[in-house]
């Protein structure tokens, strides 16, 4: 039974110079607990991720599984009730211990984020122009006039027609799709190395969602920005990502290339998810195969494997001991005792 170092595939080996892949961000054993009524509850446990230059990493999972908390922990935007441990290496700086000043420099400049709700993520009382320029003015030594000009450029890039006019408008005058574009423009204003998108299209309609996904692809392609794409839509992952990490109840349960995870899912949860969604391209209407039961609440995490109460393959050891991430294959990890058995 070999416990994987988990990041072998993307971590540069000591002294290795040739063919080196640079990781923009390396998250190591990130855990987040929230103080709820004096009790610390684990929202995220032992999450490790790595995103390399130009890569798109998908983070999928159902509501409440800790996707947002992970991303907010990395950017240190969690509320004060959170207790964070682990490491988040950005270059050779650990974001989790960096000074506030340093974080402020990095945020919006080297790491940017866009959020699910385009309706509320923009400040209702300031103009679009002001909100885009702000990022530029905060990080670059330029005049407001220049910032304005660059903001207009940025709006053009995210596909907004009449950008000069939009600059003077307020968020409520724009549609959801437009607002999300503006959010992307804000996030991309300083050309960051990493863009974290937390369910950027969940609140949008399909046709608009398609527009935004197209835009993000372009950004990834044209600017070489690494993308951490958080979503619960497996379709979006399939379309956008190079690699994917599946989260369940605060843990990454499976990680690998998109192809591997979709066509060779190892964890029963991943398999369950894939079977539960209606297939759009399927011809016959076969009955869906749901995962029985509900996601455990963070105040009552099962002792062993967190998926064990819902798992069709549950074994005694699943209930007793939590499994760790096991290597399935090169760059394919799964948090399930079954994988150990297989290995053995």
């Amino acid at each position: 039974m070999k416990v994987s170092s988990r990041l072998d595939s993307v971590l540069p080996l000591e002294g290795e110079e040739v063919g080196r892949v640079t990781n923009v961000l390396e998250v190591q054993s990130l855990s987040v607990e929230f103080n709820v009524n004096g009790r610390y509850l684990p929202a995220v446990s032992d999450v490790s991720l790595a995103i390399s230059e130009g890569e798109t990493l998908g983070l999928v999972g159902e509501s409440g599984c800790g996707k947002s908390v992970t991303s907010l922990a990395i950017t240190r935007l969690l509320s004060k009730t959170a207790r964070v441990s682990g490491k988040a290496l950005f270059g050779n700086m650990d974001l989790l211990t960096a000074k506030d000043k340093e974080m402020q420099r990095i945020r919006g400049n080297e790491i940017s984020m866009i959020f699910q709700e385009p309706m509320t993520s923009l400040n209702p009382v300031y103009t679009i122009g002001g909100q885009i320029s702000e990022t530029l003015l905060l990080h670059k030594d330029i005049s407001p006039r220049e910032a304005f000009a660059q903001s207009v450029e940025m709006l053009k890039k995210v596909g907004i027609s009449r950008p000069e006019q939009i600059m003077h408008q307020h968020p409520h005058q724009l549609s959801g799709g437009m607002r999300q574009r503006v959010m992307i423009a804000i996030a991309m204003a300083c050309n960051p190395r990493l863009l974290i998108a937390d369910e950027p299209t969940t609140a949008l309609d399909v046709t608009i969602q398609a527009q935004i996904l197209e835009l993000m692809k372009e950004i990834n392609r044209d600017f070489g920005t690494s993308l951490l794409l958080i979503t619960h839509d497996l379709g979006v992952v399939a379309e956008m990502c190079d690699r994917v990490a599946v989260m369940y109840a605060g843990q990454v349960v499976e990680q690998g290339t998109v192809d591997e995870v979709f066509f060779n899912p190892q964890h029963p949860y991943t398999r369950g998810l894939l079977n539960a969604i209606p297939k759009f391209d399927a011809q016959s209407k076969e009955r869906l195969q749901p995962i029985e039961g509900n996601v455990p609440s963070i105040s009552r995490m099962p002792k062993g494997c967190r998926f064990s109460p819902r798992c069709p393959h549950v074994m005694n050891q699943c209930v007793e001991r939590p499994p760790s991430l096991f290597d399935v294959d090169d760059a394919h990890l799964s948090r399930c005792w079954l994988n150990v058995e297989k290995e053995a």
């Binding site: 950017t75 935007l77 506030d100 974080m103 402020q104 420099r105 990095i106 945020r107 919006g108 400049n109 940017s112 984020m113 959020f115 709700e117 509320t120 993520s121 923009l122 400040n123 209702p124 009382v125 300031y126 702000e134 990022t135 905060l138 990080h139 307020h170 409520h172 005058q173 959010m183 804000i186 996030a187």
Partner: protein, 317 residues
């Protein structure tokens, strides 16, 4: 926006008419004949009849109302029974004093409350927040007259820093601006202390709410400093409810002013009203009521407009 303002003004008209009806009816249906009070020990039936007639009190009620209303429209609030002066003059005389103390203290209280409330919300549940909250509770709970008198005792009598009342020092031959200001400070301070606690509490919760909003997270994401996050991004949103409240609380402020005016002998609207009510000086009671109704309605209107200036969502409706 213009349309919005015009609509609000038009909407205010029935309210104002309502205020005139209420103040008129309320005053005229209650017992206690003003003629009896005006005449005091000079009361005889003959005198009462004569006085009634000369005051127009012998006409039917509705007729009195319409006569009065007609006069109001041309800015004539009649003559005070007691002072025999045009009521308008008396109000124009008293209003600036009340406005002075109310405006200055409201501005001060707001600025202070916005600042303290914001800081408290940001540092919520720290010792600082708790101490400030306790002080707030204390101020909020103190009867205003007690507070006023405590201030008088301390500042005017014990350390003699400020005068105990009045608006100017009649003793000196030359009454300057600073003399006036000197007299303004204690009343303003009282009114400030009376109102600041409530506002701070309100601002604290409003700011708390604002700090939980998504756009605050966006601002942080951009790399804005915490100061910027609070005082640029959250602040403008969190003062919005405060502005509405400000419009609504005008009557309360005037009420506070009544006590302050009484204690500091400040000849404003409150004192005018209080005098009038004791003397059954109908024209003044009614005029002050209508006037305050007007001021309140205008205040609300102003608050709405201010709201529109700060909140673009309203502006374009």
């Amino acid at each position: 926006m213009l349309k919005y303002i015009i609509r609000r003004i038009l909407e205010a008209i029935p309210t104002l008419l309502g205020v005139t009806v209420i103040s008129f009816v309320l005053i005229h249906i209650v017992p206690g004949n003003p003629v009896r009070i005006l005449l005091g020990n000079h009361y005889t039936l003959e005198r009462a009849a004569a006085l009634s007639r000369s005051l127009g009190l012998n006409k039917p009620l509705w007729e009195q109302y319409f006569i009065w209303l007609g006069h109001i429209f041309v800015g004539d609030f009649g003559f005070s029974y007691v002072y025999n002066k045009p009521v308008v003059n008396m109000i124009l005389h008293a209003l600036p004093h009340t406005l002075a103390i109310v405006l200055v203290s409201v501005m001060a209280a707001h600025l202070f409350a916005v600042f303290l409330g914001s800081v408290q919300a940001y540092f919520q549940n720290t010792v600082f927040d708790q101490v400030a909250t306790v002080i707030n509770y204390f101020l909020y709970s103190l009867p205003s007259f007690w507070l006023g008198l405590l201030l008088v005792i301390f500042f005017a009598i014990d350390i003699k820093l400020f005068p105990s009342g009045g608006i100017v020092n009649t003793n000196v031959s030359h009454v300057g601006f600073f003399n006036w200001l000197h007299h303004l400070i204690l009343p303003v301070l009282s009114l400030f202390l009376i109102s600041v606690a409530g506002w701070t509490r309100y601002m604290r919760s409003s700011m708390r709410e604002a700090l939980l909003q998504d756009y605050v997270r966006t601002a942080r994401m951009k790399g804005a400093t915490e100061f910027r996050v609070v005082f640029v991004h959250a602040l403008r949103n969190s003062v919005l409810p405060l502005i509405t409240m400000l419009g609504l609380s005008l009557p309360t402020l005037v009420a506070g002013a009544l006590f302050v005016e009484e204690i500091f002998n400040y000849p404003g609207m409150g004192l005018l009203y209080w005098n009038a009510i004791n003397n059954r000086d109908y024209p003044i009671i009614m005029a002050v009521t209508v006037f305050l109704g007007l001021v309140t309605v205008l205040g609300n209107l102003l608050a709405d407009i201010l709201y529109g200036v700060i909140d673009p969502r309203i502006r374009y409706r």
